[in-house]
């Protein structure tokens, strides 16, 4: 092994430990901080009362509105 090889090896191992450790710490912190709680809320955050879940928001120009699905009874219409 030449000096460059050893340095390479040390750097690779070092960075794996450093980045792996940082990632593990970050993950632990995120769990404790509650970042993973209640994921559904996150997925629904793009909907709003006027563009609720269950309604399509795009159509070809002039396309009749009947093509839009109306919310089923009991289906939440807003977040």
């Amino acid at each position: 092994m030449t000096a460059v090889d050893i340095a390479l090896f040390a750097t690779v191992i070092g960075s794996i430990v450093l980045f792996g450790g940082a990632a593990a710490l970050a993950l632990g912190w995120a769990f404790r901080d509650g970042q993973f709680d209640n994921f559904d809320r996150g997925a629904k955050s793009i909907f709003s009362p006027d563009e609720p879940i269950g309604e399509a928001t795009d159509a070809f120009p002039g396309m009749p509105p009947r093509l839009r699905k109306t919310p089923r009874p009991g289906e939440p219409t807003a977040v």
């Binding site: 559904d40 997925a43 709003s48 006027d50 928001t57 159509a59 120009p61 219409t77």
Partner: protein, 518 residues
């Protein structure tokens, strides 16, 4: 509350005020009851979103129209370069239009021009909407747009006049990059500033991708400029930096913006939340980690240390994780809603792009294997792969985004559905033909080149029909772009009408959604 000059009014009424909306609301309401809270919220949330869209209107449309302009320019350059491969005497007399220069100019026009400017419009508009914050100080963004356009103009014209740098993706002559860097700095700062002013407490998955993109791209661009041009690194360090940039510009700039757009558009258009938010998290972080390591697979077998290529092969293989996560997520979200593809232009383009993302990434991971690379390297197979990524994935999603975004910014519907259909089918058939023709041609080109008993003349003769097919496909793509540009200009010029029964953001949002029978 400030209301935009257009908004949730009925057909024909483009300029509404808050009071008028509420009057209208009152007209349709049962007189005896007061507005119920959810119905009132509808008006309010529509008005809030309309105000946000209005704040984006000028700068985002400026970026978007510049993008469309460079798309057309880039298509013409591409056609020219493509035809030159099978008709070598085509415009061969002038130095300005020689293949090498046109090839470089094409990449700058579509890469730094079209795709990047489209990405910038996506970044700004989506970030504003998702943060529920208005765009502030738009004048600086106009400045950024002007600088960016000057940069692309100098790059394309400079290359044509003979200043191209022959560094793939970074061919712009030395006087152009300072303009990009300045413009990019403003755009990144504004995107982050909007995010910092967010009213929406939740940070949606699209926002992670956008934040990542506006942070990574300037870093990439500066490092690459610095190490290749301003203080040139020695020998093969240049191609190493070049491909670290060249791959990451797709992986950490176009891909996050396009994926982020898809993560917004697909659920929003079909009205159904993302299938699994966990998967989207895994997808994002594995993309950030592995994609950035994949670049050196462009140099497999080249004069670089073996460990670099190996590291990138590993990174490319690990890309299966984010790709699968995104593919499953998008597919499961769409499941049961595929009929929407018939009705929504934006969804069509976006889903086409999302499927292509899965394809191109799987293909890319396989191509990073040494044995596959030994055949495909140095061939037109790579060109086919690059266009599957940059066009079928990134550009198609950007088209989808434009079809969704532009009407909401101008307050007008698209003028003509035939034009949209022409665009879609030209683009879809064109890029599929392109990909198939060049993939087959490139694969056998590689097999033949790896057999030294086959003379080079035979390989060239074999490729001619594939190149011809590619030109025809390019002609289709260009036709689609022209249809797109016509729609776009007509919409900007106000030829698009507001018809009843249009997309939700117009008429019915007041007439139908807000006032159901009691």
């Amino acid at each position: 509350m400030n209301l935009p000059p257009f908004s949730v009014g009925p057909a024909g009424a483009t300029r509404e005020t808050n009071i008028e909306i509420q009057t209208l609301a009152a007209l349709h309401m049962p007189v005896t009851t007061a507005p119920e809270p959810p119905q009132y919220d509808r008006v309010k949330s529509a008005a809030e979103r309309a105000a946000i869209d209005a704040s984006c209107r000028g700068p985002v449309l400026f970026f978007a129209s510049s993008a469309v302009f460079w798309l057309l320019t880039g298509s013409m350059l591409a056609l020219l370069a493509s035809v030159k491969l099978h008709i070598p005497y085509f415009f061969t007399g002038s130095a300005e239009l020689t293949f090498g220069r046109v090839r470089m100019a094409h990449l700058q026009a579509v890469g730094i021009g079209w795709a990047s400017l489209a990405s910038v419009s996506a970044c700004l508009w989506l970030m504003c909407r998702l943060s529920r914050a208005e765009l502030i100080y738009p004048k600086m963004l106009y400045l950024a747009g002007v600088l960016w356009n000057i940069g692309v103009f100098l790059a394309v014209v400079g290359i044509i006049l003979g200043d191209g740098q022959s560094v793939e993706w970074l061919d712009a002559p030395p006087y152009a990059p300072p303009f990009f860097v300045a413009a990019l700095g403003i755009v990144s700062a504004w995107t982050v500033a909007v995010f910092r002013r967010r009213r929406e407490p939740h940070v949606y998955v699209t926002q992670w991708y956008l934040l990542g993109a506006v942070f990574w791209f300037p870093w990439l661009y500066l490092v690459a400029q610095f190490m290749i041009f301003w203080s040139p690194a020695v020998g093969v360090v240049q191609p190493i930096v070049n491909w670290w940039f060249g791959h990451n510009v797709l992986g950490l700039w176009f891909t996050p913006v396009a994926l982020g757009s898809a993560y917004y558009l697909i659920p929003k258009i079909i009205g159904r939340p993302i299938h699994s938010y966990y998967l989207s998290i895994i997808g994002f972080w594995s993309l950030a980690l592995f994609y950035s390591w994949a670049g050196m697979h462009h140099l497999i077998g080249g004069p670089i240390p073996a460990w670099l290529a190996t590291a990138s092969t590993v990174g490319s293989m690990m890309m299966f994780i984010p790709v699968l996560a995104v593919a499953i997520n998008h597919h499961m979200t769409l499941l049961g809603h595929f009929h929407r593809l018939r009705y929504s232009p934006a969804l069509r383009f976006t889903v086409f792009g999302a499927i292509s993302y899965t394809l191109v990434s799987f293909q890319g991971s396989l191509m990073a294997l040494k044995d596959v690379s030994a055949t495909t390297h140095f061939t037109h197979y790579i060109v086919a792969h690059a266009h599957l990524g940059a066009y079928a994935f990134v550009s198609m999603i950007m088209f989808g985004l434009f079809y969704y975004m532009v009407p909401r910014l101008t307050g007008r519907e698209w003028p003509n559905r035939t034009l949209i259909r022409i665009h879609f089918w030209c683009a879809a058939v064109g890029i599929t033909t392109y990909f198939v023709a060049l993939s087959i041609g490139g694969w056998w080109q590689g097999r033949m080149m790896n057999n030294p008993d086959i003379p080079f003349a035979k390989i060239v003769a074999y490729l001619l029909p594939h190149w011809l097919t590619r030109s025809l496909a390019g002609l289709l793509l260009t036709t689609g772009h022209v249809a797109f540009a016509i729609s776009f200009v007509m919409n900007l010029a106000g030829w698009g009408k507001q018809r009843s029964g249009g997309p939700t953001f117009f008429v019915e949002s007041v007439e139908q959604k807000t006032y159901p029978p009691p």
